[in-house]
Symmetry: C3
Subunit: 158 residues, 3 copies
Amino acid sequence: MEKKLNILLFSGDYDKALAALIIADGAAEMGVKVTLFCAFWGLMLLRDPDKLSLEDKTIYEKIFGMTTPKGPEELPLSKMDMKGMGKKMLTMMMKDAESPSLKDFLEEARKKGIKFYGCQLSVEVMGFKKEEMIPELEIVDVKEYLKDALDSNMQLFV
Amino acid sequence: MEKKLNILLFSGDYDKALAALIIADGAAEMGVKVTLFCAFWGLMLLRDPDKLSLEDKTIYEKIFGMTTPKGPEELPLSKMDMKGMGKKMLTMMMKDAESPSLKDFLEEARKKGIKFYGCQLSVEVMGFKKEEMIPELEIVDVKEYLKDALDSNMQLFV
Amino acid sequence: MEKKLNILLFSGDYDKALAALIIADGAAEMGVKVTLFCAFWGLMLLRDPDKLSLEDKTIYEKIFGMTTPKGPEELPLSKMDMKGMGKKMLTMMMKDAESPSLKDFLEEARKKGIKFYGCQLSVEVMGFKKEEMIPELEIVDVKEYLKDALDSNMQLFV
């Protein structure tokens, strides 16, 4: 019977998003059906830097949209970020070890048909628009997330 | 068969506690039996600001009790807190989006009969007293937590 | 039927590693088969301070190795660390409450036969060598982790 994995990505940190996507891609390769539910800061991963919009947004939503990371490349490290210096070092160490980048892992996840859910309440509160995100994103409420998660063999909160 | 969800709240951050309670309340509405096990910083959520006590406490316990958040309203954001300014902005954005506050979600969880467990070791180390917490809190050891979690369909560490 | 618990330790913080090991040890005492998979910062817990090496390492790997915690005693608190002062207070409060230290819980986990996995990609990127770690550590890839986790009754991401 096909196994199911549900990952809730709460964090907007480069290293945590990396962990979530490495697990998601690895599981998809093993034939596991994977859902990535992005909530709160986790939505930053799925922002498309070329599609940002300030239209019909409140002043707070504009400030929030402009001062938060816009897509995988801008996410900070959860530790030792040192205003980007630590992240620079880590991404170079990843290159040295021939590891794909976070952006690569995200592309891979899209290719592998991983299901991307976005938290409706987070989107509403933060003032994001669906068209500012990667096209695969489906915005759902907490009950839709729970239906998927409770039906999965494994659930993680990252 | 009735489904069971067990959430271990380790974090003492406003946004993470919000995520945990949104999931808990949503699951309870779906007829899922929910246990929220608060450990370490997660216990701050359940402190009742009107029932704090310094009696029979060591100097460290007094310092710890006074310098840590006392209930949902005092929890900081995990990111962009900016000494409370970021949190102020986010809670106003929540109001704009007609989202309940963390305090509301906590009240809702209490009404919905969600089971509140507190980690015995954390309570002992931090010097908290049961009467300083919400009345529903039951203090249990890790094995009691594990019995509940291993018997659940879904377990999250927040 | 024997129950299985899989904990992915991503965090390199003292309090989070403590939570993971308290749960792991408690579960092992209940006859549950426990796997602790350390990835990213979680690997710091398993470094042996007496076996550090700078041999065959790039300049980044050397910097990384020297500027990151070397074993359980050096892990910082995730909150209120205050350059070690907060951690000092918390560890003294743990002593007052007769709680074992993180180092004790780790020793206990080793004695109880908990399986220690290390993330291969993290080890490669961070430039760690197996011999710098506790001897029980087995370095595996994400699919090995997933096989173990998907076969478990309970999975946590700490």
